[in-house]
Point group: C2
Chain length 184, copies 2
């Protein structure tokens, strides 16, 4: 297992920084075999939450929104960046309320994941919010023009298997919940 030991960070130099959005750094690393890598990038972006929100009648809340990184309108789940000092669960509860006006009495953590295992790029925290109930009007931020749609789990499964979802974290959480329930 020695060869799988962590790489040693010899130095870190920030090459681009625009807080709180992104910081790019360049690291000098020593690998377990002794090899020196002089220019390995790390990209830090804010952590975020992604929420599989299910209503009392077992429908799943989807958001349809233009996503500029994809240059297209895409399906996603309620999601948002964590604020400094915020815990994942509190952040997910705030985002669900802001984006959909919903409250959930039952939150299940589905773990967390990184979008890019080499660079980092902002950890995602996955939650399944059950028995969601509308308690307010949606009140998202300025950039977030969106449509909220609810679908049955059968329809969600069809959309997923037909390739209609094109964001890695979203595919991950949707497939994970559906798989978990099919295994139960």
């Amino acid at each position: 297992m020695d060869s799988l030991a962590p790489w040693k960070i010899l130095s870190t130099r920030t090459v681009y920084s625009a807080p709180p959005w992104i910081e790019v750094s360049l690291q000098k690393l020593e690998l377990p075999c002794g090899k020196i890598v002089g220019d390995y990038h790390q990209v830090a972006t804010p952590e975020y939450t992604l929420i599989f929100a299910e209503t009392e009648d077992s429908r799943v809340l989807l958001i349809r929104q233009y996503k500029h990184g994809m240059r297209e309108v895409a399906w996603t789940f309620p999601a948002g960046l964590m604020e400094p000092g915020e815990e994942p669960l509190a952040s997910a509860q705030r985002e669900l309320l802001e984006e959909t006006g919903c409250h959930s009495p039952e939150w299940i953590s589905l773990g967390s994941s990184v979008p890019n295992a080499n660079y980092g790029c902002g950890k995602a925290h996955f939650f399944h919010a059950k028995n969601c109930k509308q308690v307010a009007s949606p009140n998202a931020g300025d950039l977030e023009e969106m449509e909220i749609v609810s679908v049955s789990k059968n329809e969600l499964r069809r959309m997923l298997l037909d390739g209609e979802f094109k964001i890695s974290g979203m595919i991950a959480i949707a497939a994970l919940v559906l798989l978990r329930e099919s295994a139960a």
Copy 2:
């Protein structure tokens, strides 16, 4: 649907560039509502392939490897960056051979996804390679110390549902294949 129209790019300025690894740019955008956003980042990293490689006896090839972006040893699938001008399928076939020494006669595209819908960060192309057969020794690049392990699909499902996988794209492709087969 008007409010879901694409954002107009008024200008793009590269703020950090280290080809072929990463380019960060800052865009001035006009939203459908007329609002101007002066400093929206885009992060371009190479596209890559991720392969669900299944042997003739239905075992799935996993790779255990230190991933520096996570600072830990993680499970992943055979994967790798696409070379300039390379097609996704050809890239996936090359990576599978390099990393595992395996050849597959049967490749199924499972679509593609982006790790970060706002910034971009390198599209992933997912493939299911069936009936993989060992035809050579693994011959990965210098940085890639790894162990190759094969597991049954039941074991893969257990690992997935127990949260042992921590890379978004990897969770996505694994859950997608298992869900597809449970739906078949």
